[in-house]
Symmetry: C2
Subunit: 151 residues, 2 copies
């Protein structure tokens, strides 16, 4: 029924891990501070990303690392990992139309028909954007800000 903020937090984490994962121990506590969301939320997100093979998280001692080339991590893959049935939740449908009315009896079929196309298009769209793209956007943003600060 929506694209959740968890997806944004996941991207935040992935970029952070890419940038700092090799230099320091990236814990859920640290990601929590950086992203402003709760450590447990972070751990749940990391756990989902890990199950999907995008990152590895060291149990016990802690620390996360990318476990997959950034160009293989698409926005679609992130959404799916975070919210396994996100396709079906994307668009809300009113649950109880009347079975006594012809429109009520058939509206779900009609909606599915159009919504299916929307979902497919959206998935294509999400597959076109990768973590690699976003990392390069991030670097570009850092540079811009640097130049701006220098002036």
């Amino acid at each position: 029924m929506h694209i959740s903020t968890k997806c944004s937090v996941a991207i935040h984490c992935l970029i952070f891990i890419y940038e700092y994962g090799e230099k320091q121990k990236v814990t859920s506590e640290l990601l929590s501070l950086s992203s402003g969301s709760n450590p447990v939320t972070i751990r749940n997100i990391l756990s989902a990303l890990k199950k999907d093979g995008m990152i590895s998280v060291r149990f016990g001692t802690g620390g996360a690392a990318l476990d997959c080339p950034p160009d293989e991590i698409t926005l679609y893959r992130i959404c799916r990992a975070i919210e396994p049935d996100f396709d079906s939740k994307l668009i809300g449908v009113h649950p109880m139309p009347s079975p006594l009315c012809p429109v009520g009896r058939n509206i779900h079929t009609v909606l599915d028909c159009s919504y299916q196309k929307i979902r497919e298009d959206l998935c294509e769209s999400l597959k076109k954007i990768t973590l690699e793209n976003m990392i390069s956007d991030y670097k570009g943003t850092l540079d811009n800000r640097k130049n701006y600060d220098d002036e």
Copy 2:
């Protein structure tokens, strides 16, 4: 942040009005019964569709009618009418990343960059589907069901 069920209800209403608007007085009460949602919700939806010029609603006496050819009513137009800033609400962003962290300071810019593309693609996708399409899906569904029932 999502495509709401109100959009589905709006489509329900539009198809209903197309089918029955000329034969009987389509009131919010009737649409409420058919769709299973509240008459006030219906009135709010009809009000939004009316403001956008898709339908006309007779004040006082009641009754709704299509006020626009079905091929000019796109899913995008419906979504926008129902939820004026739905573009910006489509994807959730975590609101309070840390300004002390380089990733935190720049994540919103980075996300906007990718999300903007997603939003544009989605809008294109929504513009491709019209009420005319959905009405013909509806008629097809009616026919299928009829044949099936006959067997």
